[in-house]
């Protein structure tokens, strides 16, 4: 019960902030009595509720059963949230009542089809990531994050089998924030969501059991840079509020067309909020944190960040730029164009020199963010639907790839260095074959989901006349293919190194996560039509204002 109330209170808080903003701009009579549409917000409420309940479990449940309770709670709530998302989506036409969309919680949250698609994707990807997080056979998490690495306390806590079970509620909070982030209909709610999703991730990054200092460094880096970008985002909100007198996206859009004075405020606002959002997706030149954080964080957390956070942040980026700045495409397109080109090229080129598999995937994730940006720049229903499809297909492949990385182990933890992967194809053909499949999907080889996604975004971009951007895109794809192929060469064509890494037999959890990735990669490559039509159905109604 408490669990349900808390997020409601939180949402009310956010909406009251929006109220104040609205009250300043609109006549007081336009505001109805506060009402919260619990039914439509239920997917988020369930996840937030489970997160709060998780905190209570942490306090009251005995240690032996704690992990099991957490796991059931987390997986159950995510599954329930997915079902509720489908229910809300199915009933959406009723809420929308013929209008292009629907807002809930006094205009603070938008419930529209693109958002529901993104939320559904985030929930499923989070479910798979939680499977990885919950895998205790050889857990990647520190027993006690506060203990100095190598100290007697750490040895003791390891021996005692202590585990930071807080990771489950933290994850759920982050996931809840990720669901709210793309759904936020005003910038203050969006900022709150950004913080709710970021803060738990900062913590989770620092919890790696092995290579603790790298993990701590990652957490500190992510925290400092993340706070910095949040501050910029907030500053941008202030500018936009100063320009339009509202934080609501549709009000900003309206002001942008009617109000021709104060263009400086508007453009500074666009730039600063844009920086905050581009930071989260890791677009160049705001990508600096990504390799370090992806490498240092425990791999299941990296999987969560690389899939769910990216999907959610793209959702928010699409909403802000399509709804609030949708009439200003001529102004932001050139800047976004440059960012997209830099992101694709730099991501692909720098990845070529990487020697750590997680850093490699971090740079590959940067390059992929650039590919999605080409569709964002298209500013069309096709651009929106293709980004949605790309994000979903990329997310599954990424989770699967990180799941495979958790399986390849050295005595001191995961075998991160690429040279350790030499000859893996001879030792464990199945695991290496699956990883090769994921790499080929990243490279965009036909009959994998990566090709369908790439085809969709490039098609949207060309249809909008961005052929030059697409040519840069395919050239970076070719460069990117080089380093994916290089890993395959290492795994299959090189001789195994003596005392190479061991491939552990996956537990049911990790096995399921890998299975999800393989099935999604193949199905979205060979019979993509159902998901494509879902995405285009979601996108034929653009975001609600």
């Amino acid at each position: 019960m408490i669990g349900v109330l808390a997020p409601a209170a939180h949402a009310a808080l956010a909406s009251s902030a929006a109220h104040a903003a609205l009250a300043a701009a609109a006549p007081a009579g336009a505001i109805k009595a506060p009402s919260i549409e619990y039914g439509q917000l239920s997917p988020m409420l369930v996840v937030f509720g489970a997160a709060v309940a998780g905190v209570l479990v942490e306090a009251f449940a005995p240690r032996q059963v704690r992990r099991a309770v957490h796991l059931v709670l987390a997986l159950g709530s995510l599954a329930a949230a997915f079902v509720l998302t489908i229910v809300v989506a199915a009933m959406h036409s009723l809420y929308a009542n013929g209008s292009p969309g629907h807002v809930a919680a006094m205009g603070a949250v938008a419930v529209d089809r693109p958002t529901l698609f993104i939320q559904g994707t985030v929930v499923v990807l989070a479910f798979v990531s939680v499977l990885l997080i919950g895998d205790t056979s050889n857990s990647p998490f520190a027993a006690q994050a506060a203990a100095t690495p190598g100290s007697p306390e750490e040895q003791e806590s390891l021996a005692a089998g202590i585990m930071h079970t807080e990771i489950f509620p933290l994850t759920l909070f982050a996931v809840g924030g990720m669901m709210l982030f793309p759904a936020s209909n005003d910038l203050l709610t969006m900022f709150v969501a950004l913080e709710v999703l970021s803060l738990p991730l900062y913590l989770l990054c620092g919890l790696a059991r092995r290579r603790r200092l790298v993990s701590h460094e990652a957490a500190v880096k992510y925290f400092l840079l993340g706070s910095f970008s949040s501050a910029l985002f907030l500053f941008g909100i202030a500018m936009l509020y100063g320009f339009s007198g509202s934080v609501r996206l549709s009000a900003i859009a309206a002001a942008a067309t009617s109000n021709t004075s104060n263009a400086t405020l508007l453009f500074t606002g666009i730039a600063l909020t844009g920086v905050g959002l581009l930071f989260k997706i890791g677009a160049v030149p705001f990508q600096g944190w990504k390799p370090d954080v992806y490498q240092g964080a425990p791999t299941p957390v990296t999987a969560l960040m690389a899939s769910c956070t990216v999907v959610s942040a793209f959702g928010a980026l699409l909403r802000v730029f399509y709804v609030a700045f949708g009439n200003l495409t001529w102004d932001w397109r050139p800047a976004m164009w440059v960012v997209a080109v830099l992101t694709m090229v730099a991501g692909a080129v720098i990845a070529v020199t990487q020697t750590d598999v997680k850093r490699l995937l971090a740079y590959s994730s940067i390059a992929h963010a650039g590919f999605v940006l080409t569709a964002v720049i298209a500013v069309s229903p096709a651009g929106l639907s293709s980004s949605l499809f790309y994000l979903a297909s990329y997310g599954f492949t990424t989770v699967g790839a990180f799941a495979v990385i958790t399986l390849v182990r050295d005595p001191g933890g995961e075998a991160g260095h690429l040279s350790r992967w030499a000859g893996l194809g001879r030792r464990s053909p199945l695991v290496a074959g699956i990883f090769a499949l994921f790499l080929l999907a990243f490279a965009g080889i036909p009959l994998t989901s990566g090709f369908t996604g790439k085809f969709a975004v490039f098609q949207a971009a060309i249809a909008s006349g961005e052929t030059a951007l697409v040519i840069v895109g395919v050239l970076s794809s070719a460069i990117a293919a080089f380093f994916y192929v290089r890993v395959i060469v290492l795994m299959f064509f090189s001789d195994p190194i003596p005392d190479g890494p061991v491939v552990v037999v996956p537990s049911i959890f990790t096995g399921t996560a890998v299975g999800f990735g393989v099935v999604a990669t193949l199905v979205l490559g060979i019979v993509p039509q159902p998901v494509l039509s879902l995405a285009s159905h979601a996108a034929n109604q653009l975001f609600v204002g």
């Binding site: 085809f455 060309i462 039509s533 285009s536």
Partner: protein, 551 residues
């Protein structure tokens, strides 16, 4: 022509074979060598069986193919990805049919010939005094044998699919997906600089393919704008040829497609990956690479570059002809200088692909028919030569030409077949390659005299590289290391003799093949001509050209 989906069956049989082979359970590493051999043999017989079944299906298609019937026959059309307007659409015209038939014939031959390629067991056990040298030169890959044959069968599905696809998207899917099995065959089972060669092959082809992808998407967008199929775009070849494109657009799109095909074919100066890949690949894979995969490039030029972008093709004709002629001479001269047998054969292919591209781009019926026939003949002739070189290498453990000598005295059958295949390479009259090369040159001469004259010099150079290689390897005193060499075994004979028989048979009586090819060529030519009338020729050649294009 709707009815039993023969093309799908022919395409699916090898894939089914690949799955069955992959499901053959492996044996633990410590199991007895004889058990493992038996298990490997099972995979090989399965591959052979399925490839023969595929051949039967293809023969049925060829027999049921109505010469003079509709241009595309055995058509199938199902919606695959409606969101993109993509169809699973298959169909063959005469050109595609002969290439599919070539693929289906080469496949069992290659499987027979590469029986021991994957398990690192040499075709003939090396003579007792040689083991060190031989085993050092031929590393024994410890990869699974069944994977090799499963990859090969997967490749056959894609090769049939790429020729049979009549949807541009589907074509692209096969065109790109085809690279992956070949990549693994070179990288895992090759010799020498196999990693480098495999990566170079893949990246070169991917780069070309990605540029083509841009052109394909642009074509789709233009088809949507033109309203040929309502508001939705299309990838169906039959509809795309009706999409009106401005000359400027045609030029760009032509380049997008052409570069991909020129890399694939490979045309000078995009050829550098081929010698590396062919030299590193196991002989069987090299045959498929040069014999079939590269044909997709020239096939694509003919089918897609011509019919979709006729005026673009015309605009670039002088450039392509120049590249083709340079390729003919350059490939032949570089081939003469090679010290490695496999690289030599690879360079001769660069020269031959120059001939094929020349025949296609002169845009006369004789030239195009000749080029199409050339594609088939080249598949058989180069295939036979590559396989025989492979047998030699398996016996001796090196592909340096200088390490051989006098083979003819110890292995007369091998040397004899090697000679016939070599003579086919230099287009000796009586062999089918002569017919095709003659047609290409005739077609060229009727429109472009100088390129025809220069290209004819390629035949002389071909005589040098073939006969000189034969002289250095087969004639002369028997070298010490060659002395114990065994002649061809029945399995090897069974693989190569059908190819030689086809070369001789089609050389003496090429008419049936040309009858299948010609109507399709005429349709292609008509498509090129409808949008842009043929340029005027010098009066003296008009008769030849008209004779060629008259229906």
């Amino acid at each position: 022509m709707n009815g039993f989906p023969w093309l799908t069956v022919a395409g699916a049989l090898p894939l089914l074979g690949a799955i069955v082979i992959a499901l053959v359970p492996g044996l633990p590493a410590d199991s007895a060598e004889t058990d493992r051999r038996a298990r490997n043999a099972l995979a090989k017989y399965l591959a052979l069986g399925f490839s023969l079944l595929t051949l039967v299906a293809v023969i049925i298609i060829a027999v049921k193919f109505e010469v003079g019937g509709p241009n595309f026959q055995f058509t199938e059309n199902y919606s695959w990805i409606p969101a993109f307007g993509v169809h699973y659409a298959l169909g063959v015209d005469g050109i595609a049919l002969v290439l599919i038939a070539m693929t289906a014939v080469l496949m069992p031959v290659v499987i027979l010939a590469s029986w021991y390629d994957a398990d690192g067991v040499l075709g003939a056990p090396p003579a007792p005094d040689l083991p060190a040298a031989a085993s050092a030169a031929t590393p024994r890959p410890r990869h699974s044998v069944k994977t090799y044959f499963a990859l090969m069968m997967t490749l056959e599905t894609m090769m049939i699919g790429v020729f049979a696809a009549t949807d541009v998207f589907l074509f692209y899917v096969f065109f790109e997906a085809m690279l992956i099995p070949m990549y693994f065959m070179i990288g895992s089972y090759g010799t020498g600089k196999r990693q480098y060669a495999a990566v170079k092959f893949l990246l070169y082809s991917l780069l070309g393919g990605l540029l083509m992808l841009v052109a394909i998407i642009a074509l789709y967008v233009y088809s949507a704008r033109s309203g040929v199929t309502g508001h939705h775009g299309t990838f169906l070849f039959s509809q795309l040829i009706h999409v009106p494109l401005s000359p400027a657009v045609q030029k760009w799109l032509f380049l997008g497609f052409f570069i991909a095909f020129a890399i694939k074919a490979p045309l000078w100066p995009f050829h550098t990956w081929l010698p590396d890949a062919a030299a590193a690949a196991p002989p069987g894979a090299a045959v498929l690479l040069v014999g079939v995969l590269d044909k997709v490039g020239t096939f694509g030029m003919l089918r897609y570059c011509f019919e979709l972008f006729p005026s673009g093709a015309k605009y670039f004709t002088p450039l392509v002809i120049t590249l083709a002629v340079i390729g003919i001479i350059y490939g032949a001269i570089v081939a003469i200088g090679q010290q490695s047998m496999k690289r030599l054969i690879a360079y001769t292919s660069v020269s031959h692909f120059g001939f094929i591209a020349l025949g296609i781009f002169v845009m006369t019926t004789q030239g195009v028919s000749g080029a199409t026939f050339y594609m088939v003949n080249h598949g058989f002739a180069t295939g036979a030569l590559f396989l025989l070189a492979g047998f030699l290498i398996a016996r001796r453990g090196t592909d340096r030409i200088a390490d051989y000598g006098g083979v003819q005295k110890v292995a007369p059958l091998l040397a004899g077949l090697f000679l016939i295949s070599g003579l086919a390479m230099l287009s000796l009259p009586g062999l089918s390659t002569f017919v095709s090369e003659f047609l290409v040159l005739l077609g060229t001469f009727s429109r472009y005299k100088l390129p025809a004259i220069i290209a004819t010099a390629g035949i002389i150079l071909a005589a040098i590289y073939v006969l000189w290689m034969y002289q250095r390897t087969m004639n002369g005193p028997v070298r010490e290391q060659v002395a114990g060499m065994k002649d061809l075994r029945p399995r090897e004979l069974l693989a190569v003799v059908p190819l030689v028989v086809l070369l001789i048979g089609a050389g003496v009586y090429p008419q049936p093949v040309l009858d299948i090819i010609n109507p399709a060529v005429k349709v292609t030519m008509a498509q090129v001509h409808t949008t842009d009338p043929k340029p005027a020729h010098p009066a003296g050649n008009t008769t030849v050209a008209q004779k060629g294009t008259a229906p």
